[in-house]
Symmetry: C2
Subunit: 218 residues, 2 copies
């Protein structure tokens, strides 16, 4: 600190460009979408590791750090204002709740991108219109939609959390791919074939894309 004799106070923010220059790469949002069990989180975390070890700055937003905090369900929101609060702001799985879930994640990913960080989001995000709304809040080229494509049968066979089994048994209602639709992206930046390729190879496909677009350097 003591060498920084030129630094005085500023009303203005540190610019995005300054942060990107320091980090050595651009900020963006890599939006994974696909069925439960398609491999979104696995590929996102694999990519995150590779980016980290190459010196890039990234973050993974997924159910682990969002569904317990920012987008907690009604039962998890213990608020001063009680039930009225948790019923209004807690998020379930109706269409309107899913829209708000995705909207908030998009807003947070946007803040990370503006901070010069590569934000990886791993959510089913089944509705096209909700994903497109996030895309439209970002600058062109900053929203990279990655469709993690695996047949329903493959995802259901993997069933890492036992959710398909519960959905088939009727214990979970409105489960994407079973009794709620998944709308495939019409023009995603990338399609990953996760039934036939390893997460390692798929993460490398994304790295190639990021390099081609000048977001990271080779």
């Amino acid at each position: 600190m003591s060498n920084d004799t030129n630094v005085t106070w500023h009303e203005s923010s540190v610019s995005r460009q300054m942060r990107e220059k320091r980090n050595g790469h651009k900020g963006c949002v890599i939006w994974f979408t696909g069925l439960s069990g398609s491999g979104k989180s696995t590929v996102a975390n694999t990519l995150d590791h590779k980016l980290y070890h190459a010196g890039y700055h990234s973050v993974v937003l997924d159910g682990d750090n969002v569904r317990h905090g920012l987008n907690a369900g009604p039962g998890m929101l213990k608020a001063t204002h009680g039930e009225e609060f948790s019923n209004r702001f807690g998020l379930g799985f109706s269409a309107i709740d899913r829209e708000e879930n995705i909207r908030r994640i998009g807003a947070v990913a946007d803040i990370f991108a503006r901070t010069g960080i590569i934000a990886l989001t791993a959510f089913i995000s089944p509705y096209r219109i909700d994903r497109d709304k996030v895309r439209n809040t970002l600058n062109p080229g900053e929203f990279i939609e990655v469709f993690v494509d695996a047949p329903l049968e493959v995802c259901e066979q993997r069933d890492p959390k036992g959710l398909y089994k519960k959905a088939r048994a009727g214990e979970i209602k409105g489960f994407t791919g079973i009794d709620d639709p998944y709308e495939e992206p019409l023009a995603p930046e990338l399609v990953l074939q996760s039934a036939t390729k390893t997460p390692d190879i798929l993460a490398d496909e994304i790295i190639s894309f990021l390099t081609d677009k000048g977001i990271i350097h080779a």
Copy 2:
């Protein structure tokens, strides 16, 4: 990338410790609170500049990047599901809306801190209980409450956005300090006297604190 022959895929996330080690400092939340016009944003941005130039990773969350996105008001939320959506999720300035505003900001700041970043939040955050709730979601020592203390008269005289004038004229209702309470922190980590000291000096006081606590190094 090509030198990273040891990197294979991981289910696990890159740990917070790994990110902090790489960044060379710890993540935390520096929560500025105080009246409108007390200097929260100015001190936060001054600190952000100093941290940036010293090589630390930080972000400022304030009205500029939150009130237009994550915590937009009802009128700004143009949703697929229309009025029902914006009325439910759009945030105004009632006590319940303020609680949710602060809760979401706290959740996002927490994600930044876990990513090894120093998150600076600059919001009036007038209610003690709402701030304490954010404090309780973080690990001990990671929530640094900074009370930016300036007499109401000074803030009202500054009135950088003309808001006090409008509040006195009755054009804004529920304005903190005029017809809505500001609850001073009972045990903030730092109190900054912003009526008598420059933002530059106040930012340095925070840097001293961060250094003493081992969050950054001298």
